[in-house]
Amino acid sequence: MNLRTIGCNFRTAPVEVREKLAFNPAKQQWAVSEVAARYGAEVVLISTCNRVELYVARASDARGFDLDLGAEFLAECHGLNPAIVGEHLCEHVDSAAVRHLFRVTASLDSLIVGEGQIAGQVKQAFEFSRKLGTTGPLLNAAFQHALAAAKRVRTETGIAHGHISVSSVAVDYVRQVFDHFADKTVLVIGAGKMGRLTLKHLEELHPGRILVTNRSPEKAVEVAAGCGGKPVPWDMLDDALAESDIVLSTTGAGEPIMPRARFEAKVLPRRSGTMVILDIAVPRDFDPMIHDGDRVCLFNIDDLTRIREQTIVKRQRHIISAEAIIDAEVRRFADDWNRRRSGPVIGQLNAEVDKLRGEVLGQLMPKLNGKLSDTERKAIEYHFRLFQSKLLHGPIAALQEASREGQSGTLLEALKKLFRLE
């Protein structure tokens, strides 16, 4: 089917190389158009943080876009040495390329198996090229089928179940305790990067109030401004804790800021109901002994990471069934594609020979005019059709057989030339 995938991913290239080979939209537009123009090919370019891959489909094998040309082109795009780029590239051809695309889209080839972003990124890359007009029958069919197969994998297996980001797991825990959030107060302690990410997830719950405290008042004001919260002085930490329902702690303190004795003496007696503490600081900010699963639910970074790892292990169990779906879909795609490709040629062939038969009969019948009965005339016509069927049976069967094996290209070309088909 003349499809090639050339590129690098997290397995073949370290992040330093992937960074250099990454494409921004402007560069991607240029690259896709350039490959399409130079090689007369259909092109899609996928560029994410974990992979840079060119999908190139051509009508014929002449002047094929291969690994060396791919390395040269990528090096040219980024001003790098082609030999060095080539060391990190890998190539998939024809049905292997289709299989690779299907696996990538279904997130079976991802760093974290089952992650949900890649299908969207593949779709985005395909739409980008489609709008540029660099896709054609093969890539349109392959990418649409890949997206459908990915959806099947996600719905029919447990490969996408659970959350794999620490922030999402934290929010899952919060939802185990609270049902509605409009009357809840979130307290953010510290201003770590991880904390800000988790805070974004918490903000999606639309809590009634967000308080922010930090040893540095300026940082507290900055974080509060970013999330529509209210800065609280650091020395009022106990008061802020007493009136909060969800606490997100992410300081860079060298020792716990809230020992058990202080928490039980100054915070716990002043509040009712359950409190969730997400302590994602390292070292930990809260004494883990204050967790009781009732009044205080404390989850630290180890707890959240453990759940994340459990989810990953669970997803691994679904890989076999997901791969089986991909195999079946690749076969189905190959069958569909080959049928689509050889179908018109078989049709043309039949029409052409029909025409020839008609012409020969047209010459023969006037010569035998009056000498044949209707039955004899019908018998002659029938045997001409039988001869045509027997004559074409061999080539058509061979073409269908080659199509099933994905090797119909040469035969199709030969048939077109032999029978002078358009």
Partner: protein, 275 residues
């Protein structure tokens, strides 16, 4: 069909609920929609036969089996409503065992109690038995409230235990949040307490007026109901006056339910039942 209705027995709805429960347990392991709809179908069949059993047999609500079948019928409605609305939550696996337990207890006690006739107008509505009926209905509704509070408490304790162990929040059993379970428990008990108080007061007046024998005051049913009311008082005090953790309140609700079962299973001092 009418000729089959009188043949409906406790076994019909008990087995239907049991099959529904089994399907729900299987659904935890294999979350298939077929199992869910199968469970709902058997649950609905159980409720249908349960309803017709109560309508055709009209068991005396003052009798242990009658009151147990009536409370379990309300809880079966609660189970079906919750199962329909909480598609992904583990609901039936908590509610159905309570329904089954009450049905089983009712079945065990039914052979020892007098099942009422089937008059066209229930006789407790006639004359001075009217207030007896009101007393019975108030206590029955209070019993439903206690049962709902008990279910919420069981689920609360289970969820709190999972949180204490820091179990995977996306585990097989998808539970309601602690906050929601606590609210369910609070509302059920807040509703049950005035009903229980009124029912108890009305019962005391009726007892004094019509059946004022000293031995009646010390029957298990009456002492148990008073005990239940006292547990309610402690519960309300713990909830509203003292800052008691949810887990302890849930345990106290379990005690209240235990007392309720004793009260329901005990013979009424003068309205029939197991003496």
């Amino acid at each position: 069909m009418a000729e089959y209705l009188p043949q409906i027995t406790q076994a019909c709805f008990g087995l239907s609920y049991l099959i529904a429960f089994s399907l729900e347990v299987l659904r935890i392991r294999w979350p298939r929609s077929g199992l869910r709809y199968g469970g709902l179908l058997f649950g609905a069949a159980g409720l249908f036969t349960h309803t017709f059993y109560l309508l055709t047999r009209q068991p005396d609500l003052a009798s242990p089996s009658g009151s147990l079948f009536a409370v379990s019928w309300v809880l079966a409605i609660f189970y079906l409503y919750g199962s329909w609305h909480h598609v992904r939550r583990a609901w039936a696996v908590f509610v159905l065992p309570v329904v089954l337990g009450l049905v089983w207890l009712g079945f065990m006690l039914s052979s020892q109690t007098v099942v009422g006739d089937t008059p066209s107008v229930p006789d407790w509505l006639i004359g001075n038995r009217f207030w007896g009926g009101v007393h019975g209905i108030l206590l029955l509704l209070a019993a439903v409230g206690v049962s709902v509070g008990f279910l919420a408490s069981i689920m609360y304790l289970f969820q709190a235990a999972r949180l204490k162990k820091k179990a995977n929040p996306r585990g097989r059993l998808n539970m309601l949040s602690l906050e929601r379970l606590e609210a369910m428990n609070r509302r059920a008990l807040n509703l049950a307490f005035p009903l229980l108080t009124l029912g108890l007061l009305l019962g005391a007046v009726l007892l004094k007026q019509y059946h004022g024998l000293a031995e009646n005051w010390f029957s298990v049913k009456i002492l148990g109901t008073v005990g239940l009311w006292l547990v309610f008082l402690v519960l309300l005090y713990a909830r509203y006056a003292v800052n008691v953790p949810g887990r302890r309140l849930a345990r106290l609700t379990l005690v209240a339910f235990g007392l309720l079962v004793v009260v329901l299973a005990a013979a009424h001092p003068f309205a029939g039942g197991m003496k």
